[in-house]
Every structure is written in C-alpha cells, then in structure tokens.
C-alpha cells in the first residue's frame, strides 16, 4: 500500500510537469550534475516525494507569478502619466465587491489544492512505519561530528554512514534514530531525504531507502557552534554484499601489532583515551569518534580533510589548522612520538 500512494502521486505530478516544463524526468536528470547536494536530483523515496510536491508547488507559484507580474507590468506601462497629460484627475474608483470576491475565492481554492497535496506528502514521509527488514541506525550529533551506532548489528562508527541500497520492489530502508549529545544539529543529505533536527532530550526519527549505490553528501543544517560549517555528512550506499562485508569487518576488534606498540603506548597513556575508543584495548572514551577502524574511513574530522597520514599527523599536532574551534585539543607531542602515534593509528583498519 505504502509504495502505491507515492507512485500514483508522482505519476500525476509528472503528468502536470510534462504539460508545464516539458519533462519531469529530464529536469531531474539535468539537475543532477549541477551539484552533489541538489534537492532536485532525488535518489530515495522521501526525497522523491518531496521532489514531486516541489514541482507542483513551483508550477502553481510560477503561474501566479506570471499572471500578477503581467498585470503589474501592464498597469505601469499602460497607466503611466503621459507627457501630453491634460492635468485632469483620472476617474476616482473606490472599489468593487465583485472583483474583491473574485480575488478572495480564487486564492482560497489554490490554497486548498496546495494544502491537500502537501498533507499527502507529509503522511507518506512521516507516517511510514519501519518494515521488519529495516536497518536501524542511531545517529548522535556531537560538536562537531556524527556518531553512528547500529544497535542490532553491534557496530559503532563515526562520520561516514553506511547503508544498503534499497530495491524499489523489495525495499530495505534505513530508519535513523536521531539524538544529540550537546547542542542542536540537523541531518541533511539532500538527495536522500529532507532534513530532520537532532535535539538533546528530544529524540527524532527519519528514514531513507536509497535506490542507487554511491556516496551521498550533506552537512549539518542547524547552527551548532563554532565549527558548524565543517560538520559534513557522508552516506555510503552499498550493495547488499558490500554492506554485509563492511558490517563484518566493523564488528572485529582492533588488530594490534607489536611493530607499533610505542604508538599504542603513547595513545593509551595520554589524554587520547579520555575521548576515543579502540575496541579490544583499554581506550574506551565516548566524547570523540570511535577509532577502532579509523583507516576504513575516507575522511577525518567529520569530512573536513581526507584521511591521509599527513593530514592525520597534522590533525593530532594542531587540529585548528584543519578545523579551527574543533574540540580536539592539540596534543603537544614531540615529533618522534607524533610519528609513532600516527603509525599506530594507521594500523587501525
């Protein structure tokens, strides 16, 4: 039932769009290369439902604009004071009840139509219950990074969310429970869904069923403090097999190697472990990202820098160089300790 509602809806909307814009699908295809975060290039049911509604709203408001703008332009040109004006005041017209009635009732009808279309999409997106095979994720917003926990799969990771691709015929959506550890944040990956806020003491939920594999970008959309700008979102949509492999790998405890024991000693005897967890070791801090499989991630510092040894070293030495105002302190280590620590972190695959 659930999937039938939106597709009927989309069919009717695209029919309207064909009339007005030419072709809805062509519009969406043309929009995608503009930006990886384009709201008009949806790839998941919530984003597609919103896209359909937005085309309808744009068509209605566009038509109103054209009509009223033409009236304004016509009156400005037609009723301007001419150079050969006779100086007599124009006829003094005070009003007309029929005309007033007309431009009250027509807008009311338009509002009713817009409201019904809107209410329908609200229901489609907000009233969908999670199916049995849905992936459950808890996303926790922190200043200024994202913590992801998969309670049913026993995985904890940070900043890069992995979800399975969803076949429209047999959907495997991901339902995300949104929490905050400190201030307000907002989860917004435009191609997958509209934004939903993460508010402390006020749990929220959202869902997505991405239908194409790939990396989807976004970022925090509610001002949360100094580094709100570099609290970036990355969602990795993977095939079922890849996703299962990723889960298996993330479940493993950290592999420790004797070759980097000096770095591990430094990690475990300095402030690092106050905030970071490396599972299978004594490090079990919760304030910062879980580092058990740090090297499986493409980026560090919530997407602010790519995960290269140079960036990692710079990040430990002076986080402000990458992300001024980040809560990660500069560790003030000696050069050789910094090298040893970086080498240790690079083994956390």
């Amino acid at each position: 039932m659930r999937s039938r509602g939106p597709s009927n809806w989309r069919a009717r909307v695209s029919h309207l769009v064909v009339l007005i814009f030419g072709s809805g699908t062509a519009l969406a295809d043309a929009a995608q290369p503009l930006s990886p975060t384009n709201i008009f290039a949806p790839a998941s049911t919530p984003a597609k439902s919103i896209f359909g509604l937005s085309l309808f709203v744009l068509a209605v408001t566009g038509t109103i604009f054209l009509v009223v703008f033409s009236l304004l332009l016509y009156s400005v040109v037609r009723f301007r004071k001419r150079n050969n004006d006779d100086g007599i005041e124009p006829p003094q017209v005070y009003g007309s009840n029929q005309v007033e009635l007309a431009w009250t009732i027509i807008p009311i009808l338009i509002v009713v139509a817009l409201f019904m279309a809107t209410a329908r999409v609200i229901a489609v997106v907000q009233r969908t219950p999670p199916p049995g095979n849905a992936i459950a994720v808890t996303a926790i917003g922190h200043q200024f990074w994202w913590e992801y926990r998969y309670p049913e799969l026993g995985v904890v990771t940070a900043n890069e969310l992995h979800v399975p691709v969803s076949d429209p015929a047999h959907p495997t959506p991901t339902f995300i429970n949104l929490l905050s550890a400190d201030t307000d944040h907002s989860f917004w990956v435009p191609r997958l869904a509209g934004k939903t806020d993460l508010i402390p003491n006020h749990p929220n939920t959202m869902w997505m069923d991405p239908q194409e594999t790939g990396v989807y970008l976004g970022q925090c959309a509610q001002y949360c403090g100094t580094q709100h700008a570099k609290m970036l979102l990355r969602v990795y949509v993977q095939s079922k097999d890849e996703f299962d492999r990723w889960i298996q790998q993330q479940r493993q405890p950290a592999t420790t190697s004797i070759a980097v024991s000096e770095g591990q000693r430094i990690f475990e005897t300095t402030a690092c472990i106050n905030c970071h967890t490396v599972s299978g070791t004594v490090a079990s801090g919760r304030f910062g990202p879980d580092l058990t499989h740090l090297m499986s991630r493409d980026t560090i510092a919530a997407g602010a820098a790519s995960n290269t040894p140079e960036n990692l070293r710079l990040w430990i030495r002076n986080p402000n160089a990458i992300k001024p105002g980040s809560l990660m302190p500069a560790m003030e280590l000696e050069e050789k300790d910094l090298d040893a620590l970086t080498a240790y972190l690079e083994t956390l695959r």
Binding site: F40, F65, V68, V76
Partner: protein, 557 residues
C-alpha cells in the same frame, strides 16, 4: 481647516548654543522629534549592520576563504540579525509611526508623550548594551566578544555550558530592555489611534496607514511579551539554577523554539504591516486615485493580524513535531497568503486606470509590489512542510526573508523617506540622486537576493563560515557578494541625498505631492503643536474634499 498652514515666526532655536539645542533633543517629549530620533538612531545601526553583512559576504565570496575566523563569522551573523531586526527595522518603523500617526489623525501629539520618550531611550539603551558586549563581555578568551549564538539563540547553545562568559547575557539584556521600549511604544500607538482622532474621523475614515499601525501595535504587545518572558527564563537558567532550557537536567530545547517563534513570526508582520502602510499611502497619491477597496484592505489587515499569531511553528517543520502539528501549521501558514494576496491585488487595482507618476517614492513602491509578490510565493514553497524540510535553514530561506525584509520593508521605507522628507524637514530631496539610489539598489538587491536562492536549492545550509568546493555553490556566492557592493553604493547615495538635501534642498512647500491626508495641510516641517486648529474631516481624503469641493469623497464613502 484651510487655515491650518500659517506663516510661523522663526523660533529662536537656531540662535541658541549647540549644548542647549542638544539638551532639547535629549529631553524632548514631542512625537516628531522622538520620531526623528528613532529614525536617525536606526540609520546609524543600519550602517553598522550593513558593514557586518558586507564582511559576511566577503568571507563567502569563494570556498575555503579565510577573510575572518569562524568565531568572528559566527559573531557577525548573530550581530547582523539582531541589529537589523531589533535596532534598525523596529526603531525606524516606530519612528515613522511616531512622527506620522498624530499628523495623519489630526492630533497634537501621541497619547502618552512621556512614555514615548521613555520607550525611545529604552530602545536606544538596548542597542548600546548589545554593542557594549564588544568591550564588556569578558569571556575566558580575553576582553570583548560579541554574542555568537545566532539571532534566534536556540537552546542549549545559550546555556552556561556552551556559552561561556557574558556575551549571551548582553544579547539577552539588550532584547529585554529594548523589548520594554517596544511594548511601551505599542501601547502608545494603540491608545493614540483609538483615542486621539480628530472630530469626524471615525475608525472607518482613518487613513489605512492608521489601521495597519493599529494592528501592528496590537501584535507588538502580544508578540514581544513572550520573547521578554523567554529572556527572563534564560537569565534564570544561566544565573539562578533554573532548568527551563537545560536539556542535561530535563529541560526542553524545543520550548525555547516555541517561545522564540511565537514572537518571531508575528514579528515579521510587525515589520511588514508598516511597509504595507507606506505603500497604501504612497501608491494612491502617485496614481492619482483613492486606495482601491479600503474596507477589504482593513479586513485583510485584521485577518493578517489574527492569522499571524497561529503560524509560528512553520519555522519548526524540521524539529520533529509530528505529522498532525506539521499539517496544522501548513494550512495556517498557507491561509495567510489569501489576505496578503488581496492586498497586492488592491494596490494593483489602485494603479489600474490611474495616471502613474514615476517619482522616486513610487519607483520604490512598484519594486516593492514585485518583490513582495516573489517573497510571498517563496513563502508558499516554505509553507509546504515537506518542501521546507529541504529549504528550511538553507540559503533559500535566507534569500526568502531578505526578500521580505529588504525587498518589501526596506524598499517601502526608502519610499517613505523620500515621500515624507519634504514634510519632515521642509526641503525637497534631489530627484536625480533619488533615482540613482533606486537603480543602484534595485540592481544590487536582485544580484544578491535572486541568486541567493540557488545555493539553497543546491544544498547550502545557512550560518556556515565556509564551504567545500565542488558543490556547485561557488559562482552563485560570487554573484551574491558582487550585488552587495551595488547595494552599499545605493545606501551611500541615499545618505548623501538626505544630507545634501537637508543642507541645500529647495523649500518643499506644504503639499509638494498634491496629496490628500492631513499631514499635508500643515506647515513643513510642522510646528510643535502640529495644527493651528484641530481639523474636522468628513472622508478618508480630507484634502481631496478641500481641493474638489464640487466632487467630494464623502458623497461616495
């Protein structure tokens, strides 16, 4: 009534020492002087807020720019928003209301002149408190720091945990103090309009300006009070161990949002109703026709006043209110488009069949109609909650509300400046400079705010001090910033025109526009007591009746 404009003896004001004249300004309770004080005060803050906006736009001109640090950027947008709303828009509109309401309704002064002076100085003190944070808010990091919590200061960012030092306190106290000033002025406006009208001026014969200002005054009383309450609750949280908004102790961040927006959305109408008021006086005069559909315009105004109290949570569609609440606020927000649309149609019908003169005030009003139309239509997009899940908190919403506040409110304010400048100062402004100002500003406005919608559609959130390349946002941000310089040039021409015309302008005469409302029947500038004798009116356009005794309005109204 025709004897209202009399030749006045020059007062001794000009010959007195400057200290004595300044003392007169500080101790004045005259509504016209307080009006001018409000306006000048707001213009000073307009320049300050404009400089802040310019720095913000320079920082965003390209990705990964480092013109200012994130800390400074966050303070800039907080100060820009707070300044423009509370210390530019509200004071300047109160200033015009103060100056014009007694003149429009044929009164000698406001109902409570001393409350009027008290309210102005409270507002002035509030603005100074906000900026005193720059030297007084010694946080942990050294001497001054401005507030950096955003102009709607969402909890728990304002708690002691996340906002160390006193910058948030200065923000809170500034709004608290100026809020008392606003409530005082609002009470005064409502009392004046209800009680001080000249003989013959029933409520149905008031200029529409007075109706719009009356509803605005009522909204201020209703809307500023919850904001003031919320500020007191925040102070209790910060200093007396309260937990209203303290999420770590079971408080609610969402309740702050409700408190803020139950003020914040009526606030939009508090600002835009005076804009409608200016347009409703200026458009008829330069179209040479009475306002079309006056009774419907009054009805629409009252409808807007009521509906605007029930739409606040459309600012909170992404907060997770549940589908029922979201649906309610969709219908209430969309409903307000109906009375607003009626207003646009009535202005168009006023122009229809007239003889439109393109003086500077009228140019600004025509641009206002177009821009307010667009702002209303983007407002409908934002009212469609699912669309808002994308657009809310993106640059699209920033473009939308600047379309309202600049494209509608500031444009009609410029129209009001030019229209009433001859009355307030007795001198005519330079029409050439006025038109130069108009074209510079209209070009700058559209470069900045038209193109600002696009990065929002492409996923750019607001309040970010920098952004990643490769998101398709770069070109749009460049264009947006270029537009700012046109607007800044326009503002300089405007201020230059005001000063040059004040010093060098030709005498304007009492009625330069051949207009129809009472303020044009008295001297320019009006004497301290406004009218030689209190006028008696028979219609909404008393001066039309006077100028056309063979065809007076009161026969038809």
């Amino acid at each position: 009534m025709s004897t209202d404009a009399v030749v006045l003896p020059r007062t001794e004001l000009t010959s007195r020492p400057i200290v004595a004249r300044l003392h007169d300004w500080v101790t004045t309770v005259d509504h016209k002087r307080l009006g001018i004080l409000y306006i000048v005060y707001a213009l000073v803050f307009l320049v300050i807020g404009g400089i802040e906006a310019t720095i913000i736009r320079i920082q965003l001109i390209r990705p990964h720019n480092d013109f200012v640090s994130p800390q400074v950027f966050n303070r800039l947008f907080t100060m820009h928003g707070t300044t423009m709303i509370f210390f530019v828009a509200m004071p300047v509109l109160f200033g015009f209301a103060n100056y014009l309401i007694p003149l429009l309704i044929g009164a000698r002064d406001m109902a409570f002149p001393r409350l009027n002076a008290f309210s102005f100085w409270m507002t002035a003190f509030g603005g100074l408190l906000l900026y005193f944070s720059l030297i007084g808010a010694n946080g942990l990091y050294g001497a001054g720091n401005a507030p950096d919590v955003g102009w709607f200061a969402y909890a728990p960012l304002t708690s002691q945990t996340f906002s160390v030092g006193h910058s948030t306190d200065f923000w809170t106290l500034a709004l608290l103090v100026s809020g008392f000033g606003s409530i005082g002025t609002a009470i005064n406006i409502v009392a004046t309009i209800l009680c001080m009208r000249c003989p013959g001026m029933t409520l149905a014969k008031m200029p529409l300006f007075a109706w719009l200002t009356l509803v605005m005054g009522g909204l201020v009383i209703l809307a500023v009070s919850p904001l003031t309450a919320a500020q007191i609750m925040l102070l209790i949280d910060r200093y007396l161990g309260g937990h209203f908004f303290d999420t770590q102790a079971g408080g609610s961040a969402v309740i702050w949002m409700h408190f803020f927006w139950v003020f914040g959305h009526p606030e939009v109408y508090i600002l835009v109703l005076p804009a409608f008021a200016f347009a409703s006086e200026i458009i008829p005069v330069f179209s040479r026709k009475p306002l079309f559909g006056y009774p419907v315009m009054v009805g629409a105004t009252i409808a807007i006043g009521f509906i605007s109290m029930s739409v606040w949570a459309h600012h909170m569609f992404t907060v997770g209110m549940g589908s029922a609440a979201n649906t309610f606020f969709v219908i209430s927000s969309m409903t307000i488009a109906v009375p607003t649309g009626i207003k646009i149609f009535n202005w168009l019908a006023t122009m229809w069949g007239g003889k439109i003169e393109f003086k500077t005030p009228m140019l600004f009003c025509i641009a206002f109609i177009l821009q307010f139309l667009i702002a209303g239509l983007t407002g409908i997009m934002l009212a469609a909650a699912p669309f808002d899940w994308h657009l809310g908190n993106s640059y699209f919403v920033v473009a939308h509300f600047h379309y309202v506040i600049v494209g509608a409110i500031l444009f009609t304010l410029f129209a009001a400046f030019y229209y009433w400048f001859p009355k307030m100062l007795g001198k005519m402004y330079s029409e050439t400079l006025g038109k130069l100002h108009f074209w510079l500003f209209v070009i700058g406005f559209h470069l900045t705010f038209d193109f600002m919608h696009i990065p929002g559609l492409l996923g750019m959130p607001r309040r970010i001090y920098t952004y990643e390349p490769g998101r398709g946002w770069d070109t749009w941000n460049l264009i947006v910033t270029i537009g700012v310089f046109f607007q800044a040039a326009g503002i300089l021409v405007f201020l230059g025109n005001l000063i040059w015309s004040y010093v060098r302008g030709k005498p304007a005469g009492n009625d330069p526009w051949d207009a129809w409302t009472l303020e044009w029947s008295t001297n320019s500038p009006p004497p301290a007591y406004n009218f030689y004798s209190i006028p008696t009116v028979k219609s909404r356009r008393p001066l039309w009746d006077l100028k056309h005794p063979d065809d007076p309005d009161w026969k038809y109204e």
